[in-house]
């Protein structure tokens, strides 16, 4: 016997929000901007501080920033995580003028800081999308 999904639940699941996509892109490009547009300034500030703090600390620790074209899968995953920081990915050259140094533990920690910043920012972009689509408060 087929399971029937309530109409309301089905329509909520299927609905795609273009406005949500726009806000999510803003949230990805500049950490916190998406939530600021939605009027959630506390969340915006929290994401700006955490993503910016993690990314800048990672650069100052001389973490590795993965380039766009990597030969292996780990490099591509690293790029995906780093690019998640949005505008901070392009600020890497400003903060890390002498390049990464992963020969020391600090450089290795910096690489994790930058990747974590990217993943947190991607989560914030999903959050902004869900708020715009009306699925979250």
């Amino acid at each position: 016997m087929p399971v029937t999904v309530p109409t309301k639940a089905r329509s909520r699941r299927a609905r795609f929000s273009f406005a949500g996509l726009g806000v999510a892109i803003l949230a990805w490009a500049v950490p916190g901007l998406g939530h600021l547009v939605l009027g959630r300034w506390r969340r915006a500030l929290a994401f700006m501080v955490s993503v910016g703090g993690l990314a800048i600390a990672g650069y100052l620790l001389r973490g590795n920033v993965f380039p766009e074209h990597s030969a292996d899968a780990f490099g591509r995953m690293g790029f995906f995580a780093d690019a998640g920081t949005g505008v901070f990915y392009y600020l890497a050259k400003f903060f890390e003028r002498v390049g990464p140094d992963v020969s020391r533990a600090a450089g290795d920690q910096g690489t994790r800081f930058i990747a974590a910043a990217g993943l947190v920012n991607l989560l914030s972009a999903f959050d902004a999308y869900e708020i715009t689509a009306g699925r979250r408060r």
């Binding site: 969340r43 703090g53 903060f95 003028r97 920690q109 914030s124 979250r136």
Partner: protein, 84 residues
């Protein structure tokens, strides 16, 4: 021409000085301080991502931070016998 080279050297020196200043900014950060900073910033983000509000959100951030530190120090002690 020589004046031009002098200017280029000045600009280059300032870039090197700026790079050194950036380099030294986080030099005193040891492993524990790095873990502290990481735990603090991630806890703030986790608290912001949750559905909680106000004081409850702050409590969740503190709880996350405490767990990060506890688990981090716990794993460090577990690895201690194998480090030498």
């Amino acid at each position: 021409m020589l004046a031009c080279f002098g200017m280029a050297e000045k600009v280059n020196n300032s870039v090197v000085a700026q790079a050194a200043a950036f380099e030294n900014a986080l030099k005193p950060l040891n492993h524990f301080a790095a873990m502290l900073l990481f735990a603090l910033l991630i806890s703030v983000a986790f608290a912001a991502l949750g559905q909680r509000r106000g004081l409850e959100r702050f409590r969740y951030a503190v709880w996350c931070f405490a767990l990060f530190m506890l688990v981090g120090v716990g794993i460090a002690w577990l690895m201690y016998p194998f480090s030498r």
